[in-house]
């Protein structure tokens, strides 16, 4: 069975927007810091998808290369973020993200 439908860039972009929105919504709603980080990963993946599809559309390898850099940044961010989470949780084991607000104005 073959579908006559051709998948253009706009499909990927719409999917990317959907994934990004889900990630952003999760970030805003969830209170577990780890899940919030996962939501950030979701958003980054959505951005990656957009990068790659644009790269293909424009015949530019830059899209794929950017994804590599995003990957590196995501890795670094997760490492530091989780380290902070570990440091906080060690001193206040039951903390939810809303209770860590010492630095408020």
């Amino acid at each position: 069975m073959t579908l006559a439908l051709t998948i253009g860039t706009e499909y990927y972009l719409a999917l990317s927007a959907l994934l990004f929105t889900i990630g952003a919504g999760g970030l805003l709603v969830r209170r577990n810091p780890l899940i919030m980080f996962m939501c950030i990963e979701l958003m980054l993946n959505a951005a990656n998808l957009a990068f790659v599809s644009f790269g293909k559309e424009m015949g530019d390898l830059g899209g794929q290369l950017s994804v590599l850099f995003v990957l590196v940044v995501a890795a670094a961010e997760v490492v530091i973020g989780l380290a902070i989470v570990v440091a906080v949780m060690r001193r206040r084991p039951k903390a939810s993200i809303d209770e860590v607000s010492v630095l408020r104005g």
Binding site: T6, L15, A17, T21, G23, D60, L61, I80, M89, S101
Partner: protein
């Protein structure tokens, strides 16, 4: 064929994403995240980004998610959180509005690209550079380029003059990340003071019933007053100085 792959992969990705957001247990959420990452990897293959698809699986699913799981196990925070109400007043409502806006506008922009390409490819991409490796021949994309060609081109692109500096900086960034993680998680020699108890913020909902309205009011009012009297004192002093 491409369409079928797209929709199946999209379904996996969206379902995984929903799982991340809506599952209460962090371990389940992490597993859902793996699903999403797989879905995106399939999309990458569909988009002829073979190398990225492999990296996606190895680095994300293999390293980052494992890191998440380790932290979950380490801290034992795999308890479920209550999802009925949000402690911050209005957070959920505004978040809903914002995400809906994001979805609509993002999709609009995506759909706007249907048809022709907006924007012009960079000049370098149009030139047939010898070793810059930035050119993907449009014709060859349509025909489908072999995966090993893709890897070669990415390698060339990363070390071309255009990206090599950014590559070096990522190296630095990763080093900083490693050092930072070590510093942050180091156990201090002396016991640290416990973090100060948080006063609930003004926009926080009092979830526990025994903390009724009154104590928080009592707690809030003195700070307000001292703040005010501070400013009054200041202005008094100023007027005295001027008076002299």
């Amino acid at each position: 064929m491409e369409a079928v792959t797209f929709f199946i992969a999209a379904l996996i990705a969206v379902a995984g994403a929903c799982g991340v957001v809506f599952l209460k247990n962090p371990v389940h959420a992490a597993l859902s995240l793996v699903a999403t990452l797989f879905g995106v990897a399939i999309h990458f293959i569909n988009l002829e980004a073979y190398f990225l698809a492999v990296v996606q699986v190895i680095v994300y699913a293999g390293a980052i998610v494992i890191l998440f799981l380790f932290v979950i196990m380490l801290l034992g925070v795999d308890r479920a959180e209550s999802m009925e109400t949000d402690p911050i007043i209005g957070q959920r409502q505004i978040a809903l509005l914002a995400t809906v806006g994001l979805l609509i506008l993002g999709t609009l922009i995506g759909v706007a690209f249907s048809g022709d390409v907006t924007g012009i490819p960079p000049i370098e991409a149009q030139q047939s550079t010898f070793d810059g490796g930035l050119v993907i021949d449009n014709g060859s994309i349509d025909e489908g380029i072999p995966p090993q060609q893709n890897i070669k081109e990415i390698g060339r692109g990363l070390f071309s003059t255009r990206y090599v500096f950014a590559l070096e900086i990522t190296a630095l960034l990763l080093t900083i990340g490693v050092v930072g993680a070590v510093v942050l998680t180091r156990r201090p020699k002396s016991a640290l003071d416990p973090l100060p108890d948080e006063e609930p913020s003004a926009i926080m909902r009092n979830s526990e019933e025994e903390l009724a309205e009154t104590p928080s009011e009592i707690e809030e009012t003195p700070t307000e007053e001292t703040g005010k009297s501070d400013t009054e004192n200041l202005s008094n002093e100023e007027s005295e100085v001027i008076g002299e």
